[in-house]
């Protein structure tokens, strides 16, 4: 009976592991134009409990340097107390703080991209961080879904 139990457990773990394999990049396409999508993104970030830290206007810098580009921004955000605690407890995580989403126009539509934080799990093996990365992934997915549905 124990063997059966062990076999079932192994199969269960394998099945869950296969189901849980993560994508490297989380991406969403919004049918709305850039400005509307940008507004929806900022609203979704707030609704998910995060604070907007800064918007990097990549396109402005490119245009000022003479390059032709569509609208392109990077939005930085985080939960203040969480960023403070993580940067204190795990200073080697600081280069990845705060969270960020790139948003850029593709014709009349808008694309949004975030790196899946779960990709950091292999490098930052503290189980506490693993749980944080998993939660960030869910939050990023919720934010991207909200922008997708906001059109």
């Amino acid at each position: 009976m124990r063997r059966l139990l062990r076999g079932v457990l192994v199969l269960l773990v394998c099945a869950v592991a296969v189901g849980a394999r993560a994508e490297d990049l989380l991406m969403a396409r919004s049918h709305a134009q850039f400005e509307e999508s940008m507004a929806a993104l900022q609203q979704a970030i707030g609704a998910q409990g995060y604070t907007l830290s800064r918007v990097q206007r990549v396109d402005i810098g490119l245009t000022a340097s003479g390059f032709t580009t569509d609208k392109y921004r990077v939005v930085f955000f985080g939960k203040p107390a969480e960023i403070r605690a993580l940067s204190a407890d795990h200073p080697d995580l600081i280069p990845y703080l705060p969270l960020q989403i790139a948003i850029f126009a593709e014709g009349d539509e808008t694309l949004l991209i975030a790196a899946n934080p779960v990709h950091l799990t292999a490098a930052y093996t503290d189980p506490e961080l693993g749980a944080v990365f998993a939660r960030w992934e869910q939050d990023l997915r919720a934010i991207l879904d909200a922008v997708r549905q906001a059109e």
Partner: protein, 352 residues
Amino acid sequence: MNRLPRCFCFLFMLVVVGHAYAAAPDGARLYAQHCAVCHGDSGTGGVGVPLALPGFQASVDDAYLHETIRRGRPGRVMPAFTRLSAAEIDAIVGHLRGWRKNTVAPTFATTRIRGDVHKGAALFAQHCASCHGDQGQGGHGTGVTFSRPRDLPIIAPALNNPGFLAAASDSQIKATLMRGREGTPMVSFLKQGLSEQDIDALVAYVRSFAATAASAQPATAIDDEPAMLMMESPYTLEETVEAVKRAAVGKNFRLIRDQILEDGLFPAGQQNTRQVMVYFCNFKFLYDALALDPRVGLFLPCRVTVVEREGKVLVMSINPKRLSHLFNNAALDRACDEMYKLYEEILEEATL
């Protein structure tokens, strides 16, 4: 105790049934979930190629589409969807075909076409290399936003890519060479004056890329690379920030700003001022990187963070080589290798 095994069995059945349910082959749903973000909801293209293009649909068979989804294009952005079952992939292919109901999907024989490889090499250099690259490595970049004008729907595919070579039969390659691909720059080489024998030679030459295709695979795995670069500075935080700025400018970067990590997160006066991010950019490099893959702006502009902690000053950055693996883009890997060296040099110079 008897309850425990029953409980596990129940859980196991739940997982199995859950997976079976998730695998229900609904092509439209699967396409929306996995493909639409790059290829567009109706296959008009974007970061990915326009799958609904009639000329494309008329020149590839279902087996090609199936294998392309399964294997992807290593190093050419299109990921391998290894988690999808054969039935799910077939459902996606069915969905793609639904866009062009009037286009009859071709079927191609899988038999090898014999041809003179040496003659094919000469013909390739003369007729194909200008678009597909001298080694069949394909056109540069991806995405409509930066790398190609909107009136050009497609980038010349990488014919030496192991994913392409596994997906495309000789007959399909031959048919494309003979008929061209309407709506793209790919013309009919019969109409260009080549004979069928010439075209067989070209097919044989393209097939010969398979011998070197394995080298297109990434040399290192993502986990071989550290997540970040870090060095200790012998200077104060303020001195180190200035040293980072000087080093970045010395590498032809333009300073964008320096900012406290907690800026925007806490009111001024309540922020930890001993974590300073220095942002800098080389706009030519940025533009070129975005042309290779418009998604890479996610990790730009460049940033080095200087942190004072327990009497030590640390200088750190992301590791571009590790992050590049997320994009499945060999051209971007090369740019990120260059960026890695620049980050290393900046960190070294700032802490000398």
